[in-house]
């Protein structure tokens, strides 16, 4: 529902986000995935598309285990 594609910058570091391998954990399992994050402080960005798409799908699969 946002207004088109946004170019996010980390507010604290004032830097553009870069792709970064990030650890995700759920239901006791750990997965690694490349997502955008601040190159300075490492703050991770998760888009709605990812949260409600791929992540939701993976969450379901892990819950079913």
């Amino acid at each position: 529902m946002g207004e088109g594609r946004k170019i996010w910058r980390c507010a604290r570091c004032d830097r553009e986000l870069v792709a970064k391998k990030t650890i995700f954990t759920y239901m006791g399992l750990t997965l690694a995935h490349e997502v955008e994050a601040c190159p300075g402080c490492g703050k991770v960005f998760v888009s709605r598309e990812m949260a409600e798409g791929k992540m939701a799908e993976t969450e379901q699969q892990l819950e079913d285990k």
Partner: protein, 748 residues
């Protein structure tokens, strides 16, 4: 229930047990399977079922007097029984390949003598030879057959017997008379099947008709010698072979596992809605054609109980019968590594725990307790999907902390009654609680107990939280002089009855119905009462609601199915949104008339579907038809408003809700977005908190071009994201919000 009791829980369920016809069959043939395969034209598979059961299919299809037909449940519907024997004949005619199986197992060293090559001796010899025992058949006559020799179709029978033995190693000693068992001392076991009037070697008095054993441990008797018919003798030979096998393995004849159940558990199925089906007559008098046989076999109703699996959307979706569910629940509880063989997780959290299955089950097996067991075990082992119940647990925590308030009437230490509205009634409509309390206070010595019974913790399997809440209720109740609790919610009553049996409860609706001066308004000419699932067995409460509806002048229509869950029960909404939607739709469309409900959750579910409905309290107190469903924030505000008003009335004190830093923020949010976020269970309160935290710490993302900000907040097991834009002092326009359950680490 403990994990080890799980499988016992479904003991009474007779799903999967042989049908009445199989009980009548001397061979205990799985007639259902046979007919199913014939109906589908799967002749080789049908033949295997037939041959494996009756041993000599040509003999049996010619001679069996079909006791199965008198047990066929088709006859209960006024139809003729299935023509089983004709279908067996058709099967033999249609199957192309009748070669017997070859058993690739190593030969065993034990040797068995079978005395007599009649039906019983032959079937015993065949069964033992298939297991690769060394079998020697001793027969007085020059060939096999016994009494079958007299039959005009013996040539066909002879061929059938030859065919079945053709793949086996069995030694036949024809023309051999056994007059003394000492002749057979070289054998490890002996089966005596010398036919009607034959030699029993003096063992008939010690014969065990279940195990076929005698006082001589290695000697067994059976068949026509013991008074059986030819069919029974054939069946007995194979049954005796099982006892002999156990004897050879263990040194003692004993019943084996996996035997056919001794007795039919007496459940004739209702077969509701099954259309009549007259028997198919063969065009050619010599027997059925393949097509005719298929049509005749298709008349079989496959008598097996699947009532619960048809009645419940959840059981229908997962297609597991109660026994399978019990086994999986049991095995799941024994695996607690996160990467486990869990096979039933989604189903466990998809159950409304409404008890409907137990209500329709002929023997009352309720699946809900199994699912609850699994939820408890998973939670205590820490392998539960916490996100599925987190929202409701947080709402419960709110209701029992900030939302809780208990007091006897003003100026009293104790009271005879206390109104126990439950957490949802006031959240959904404060008027329901406040008007009900006015009614009670005017007639009874009534205080109030606002809180939550703990149903969310119960449904989540969170025993610790449930116990703590129950103890809290017990203490408060004792402190108020042990009043009778006046319940408005059937679920509260069920939880209280289960965990606090010492507390007496009465339904608010009974008290309303007893008060003649309560005159409910007539909103519709007729309406259907939708009884909540938790009201099952609460006959007086159900009668009271009906009395109130009737008193309003509305014709009270009985629902087709009573005490079905509206969808809310068990909090399955997050675990299985698709199933939840299906259930809600089915209940909404179950009756075209408006619904009168007496559960706040039922009302919200139907109102959110646009279904015309009213809570019985709306009618009793003539409350205006409200907004369909309050939003998440409005519900919490309603809970606090009810508390504030009742606290003022009872203690004179002004309740000021605990203020948090983010309460002062103002959200500007589009109505469509707000509803969407409510559906995703993202509350304005969580959004405010996330923004406040992000703004305070400067911890967020920015899009300089649009001026939008994006922040995230981890709360319990959920991570929330909010996209927003400043909109004046302390005000924020919400552009979007979403959440996920996974946690992320900062970087590798």
């Amino acid at each position: 229930m403990k994990p080890e009791d799980a499988r016992q829980h479904t003991d009474r369920c007779f799903r999967g047990e042989p049908a009445t016809c199989s009980f009548a069959c001397p061979f205990r043939m799985d007639i259902r399977s046979f007919l199913d395969r014939v109906a589908r034209g799967r002749w080789p598979a049908a033949y295997r079922v037939l041959r494996d059961a009756v041993i000599f299919p040509v003999v049996v299809s010619a001679l069996c007097d079909q006791p199965c037909r008198s047990a066929c449940q088709r006859t209960l519907l006024g139809d003729e029984a299935l023509e089983i024997r004709e279908l067996e004949v058709a099967c033999l005619r249609n199957v192309k390949e009748r070669k017997p199986e070859r058993y690739v197992i190593p030969p065993k060293k034990e040797r068995v003598a079978v005395v007599g090559a009649g039906p019983s001796g032959l079937s015993c010899a065949l069964a033992l030879a298939q297991k690769r025992f060394g079998v020697t058949v001793l027969e007085r006559e020059k060939g096999w057959g016994g009494r079958l020799l007299e039959h005009p179709r013996f040539t066909e029978f002879d061929e059938d017997i030859g065919l079945q033995f053709s793949a086996l190693e069995v030694e036949f000693r024809f023309g051999t008379v056994v007059s003394d068992l000492a002749q057979l001392s070289e054998f490890d076991a002996v089966y005596i099947a010398t036919g009607a009037g034959g030699n029993a070697f003096g063992l008939e008095a010690s014969w065990d008709d279940q195990l076929y054993s005698t006082e001589q441990p290695r000697v067994f008797l059976g068949g026509e010698l013991c008074g059986s018919s030819v069919m029974e003798a054939l069946a007995a030979g194979r049954e005796a072979s099982l006892s002999i096998e156990v004897f050879l393995q263990t040194g003692k004849a004993a019943a084996t596992f996996g035997r056919f159940p001794r007795e039919y558990r007496g459940h004739i199925l209702p077969h509701e809605g099954v259309p009549p089906a007259p028997a198919v007559r063969p065009a050619d008098p010599s027997g059925y054609s393949g097509e005719e046989a298929r049509a005749e076999a298709a008349r079989c109703m496959q008598c097996d109980c699947n009532i619960c699996m048809e009645a419940c959307e959840m059981l229908r979706l997962f297609r597991k019968d109660p026994h399978k569910i019990a086994v999986e629940v049991y095995t799941d509880t024994h695996v607690n590594a996160p990467f486990s063989s869990h096979t039933i997780t989604r189903q466990v959290y998809s159950c409304n725990v409404c008890g409907y299955c137990g209500g329709v089950c002929p023997v009352g097996v309720d699946i809900g307790p199994l699912m609850q067991l699994s939820r408890r075990v998973r939670l205590s082992a820490g392998v539960h999907p916490a996100a599925l119940h987190d929202f409701w647990l947080r709402e419960m925590d709110f209701a029992v902390s900030e939302g809780a308030f208990s007091s006897p009437p003003a100026g009293q230490e104790a009271c005879a009654y206390a109104f126990y509205p439950g957490c949802q009634l006031g959240a959904s409509n404060p008027g329901h609680v406040l008007r009900s309390w006015d009614f009670l206070a005017a007639r009874h010595d009534a205080g109030v107990m606002l809180g939550c019974c703990g149903a969310p913790a119960y449904w989540a399997g969170d025993e610790e939280r449930l116990r703590a809440n129950i103890e809290g209720i017990r203490r408060t109740w004792a402190g108020m002089g042990r009043p009778v609790l006046v319940c408005a919610c059937a679920t509260c009553r069920t939880v209280l009855a289960g965990f606090l049996p010492e507390i007496r409860t009465v339904s608010l609706y009974e008290l309303l119905a007893d008060a003649e001066e309560v005159r409910p308004v007539r909103r519709w000419p007729e309406a259907a009462v939708f009884d909540p699932c938790a009201a099952r067995g609460g006959d007086r409460m159900e009668a009271a609601v009906r009395a109130l509806v009737s008193r309003s002048g509305t014709v009270c229509v009985e629902p087709g199915e009573k005490n079905r869950c509206c969808g809310h029960g068990g909090h399955i909404y997050l675990a299985n949104p698709g199933l939840y939607g299906e259930i809600v739709q089915n209940r909404t469309e179950a009756d075209p008339r408006p619904y009168v409900v007496y559960c706040a959750n039922c009302r919200e579910v139907f109102a959110s579907q646009g279904k015309e409905c009213a809570h019985i309290l709306d009618l009793a107190f003539d409350l205006p038809a409200r907004d369909p469903v309050p939003g998440l924030d409005e519900k919490r505000a309603n809970i606090l408003a009810v508390k504030k008003e009742l606290m003022k009335k009872m203690t004179g004190a002004d309740f000021e809700p605990e203020a948090r830093e983010w309460d002062a923020l103002t959200l500007v949010i589009d109505e469509a977005l707000r509803r969407n976020l409510d559906r995703k269970l993202i509350s304005g309160n969580d959004i405010k908190e996330a923004i406040w935290r992000a703004e305070s710490a400067g911890d967020k993302f920015l899009d300089p071009e649009t001026g939008a900000s994006l922040c995230s907040m981890v709360k319990e097991v959920i991570t929330y994201w909010v996209e927003y834009r400043g909109s004046g002092a302390g005000a924020y326009e919400i552009l979007d919000a979403y959440s996920h359950r996974m946690r992320f680490g900062r970087e590798e």
